[in-house]
Subunit: 145 residues, 2 copies
DNA sequence: ATGCAACCTCAAGCTAAGTTGAGGTCAAGC
DNA sequence: GCTTGACCTCAACTTAGCTTGAGGTTGCAT
């Protein structure tokens, strides 16, 4: 059978990802190729799509660990169906929306800052909001010189 | 004079950034504190704002090198004025807008993908567009199993 | 004038996401 | 049946952005 198995080199060419990166992804648990008797990796054709997903998700700023969590939702063993992928796509859309919202909020706050000239931690909305500082101590207050 | 100089510890508390990170930023050329006779760092109060800027810019995904380029626009020596900061803020606003646009485009493309179920490199807008693949060889075409 | 927290330097270590290289094996075409 | 390109493992190196630790000094408050 010249079945649906492809070599690592083939997968690399089809996805534009380096062979070394594909091996690295396997090490990180994102890919699970089979092996020949001679110990060479053999991928399913559907792994091309799997790798595409990794690339897209990385563009969205997800780390490999988070990506693995998403991929874990795919059925292991059988080829993922269209609806399997659609579920994940929707999750990603949600992610993107979140990011757009965050950026939009940041931009609005920055607009205020352009107005007031403040890039101060204590007065500026831009920074106070998003966690990070506890602003615990009632330290000095004169930030604007 | 209890002038406008602050210690590294003070700056750390005011910004929420670790002392070690502040020293690291200096090494990378983002901060230029003075030194006491005893070799301890002394920062200007305006460095609080400078650090705030670093934090915000990092959230936007800029690397320290790029941030340094922005900061280089600030006058060295004298305290930056309101309008100095405003210039930089506007540059940032532009950056944010760019990012929002990119994400919005990505989302629209993903929406198409949800429709067609394709997360394929060769057919999907999402991936083909943005560089990366040369898609040079006229390799096999059957991506959807 | 002394104690001790806060500071200093320098080297090494860490995570993420890979790449590079050495040394060796596999498999497919002639 | 042999050659050769593609594959294998394992270890070390890379960049970014820091943290941690060892060993030593400073400076402020009493």
């Amino acid at each position: 059978m010249q079945a649906s198995f492809i070599t690592i080199g083939h997968l690399a060419k089809r996805t534009g990802v380096a062979v070394s990166a594909l091996r690295f992804y396997e090490e990180k648990g994102l890919l699970h190729p089979l092996r020949t008797n001679g110990n060479q990796r053999r991928y399913l054709r559907s792994d091309i799509r799997r790798v595409s997903f990794i690339l897209i998700a990385q563009k969205l700023g997800l780390g490999l660990t988070e990506i693995e969590e998403q991929l874990a939702k795919l059925p292991e063993g059988r080829n993922p169906t269209l609806s399997d992928w659609q579920k994940i796509s929707r999750a990603m859309r949600f992610e993107i929306d979140q990011r757009i919202n965050l950026l939009t909020r940041t931009r609005n706050q920055l607009d205020q800052c352009i107005g007031c000239g403040c890039l101060s931690l204590e007065k500026c909305q831009l920074y106070n909001k998003d966690d990070r500082l506890g602003l615990k101590g009632a330290g000095p207050r004169a930030v604007l010189d």
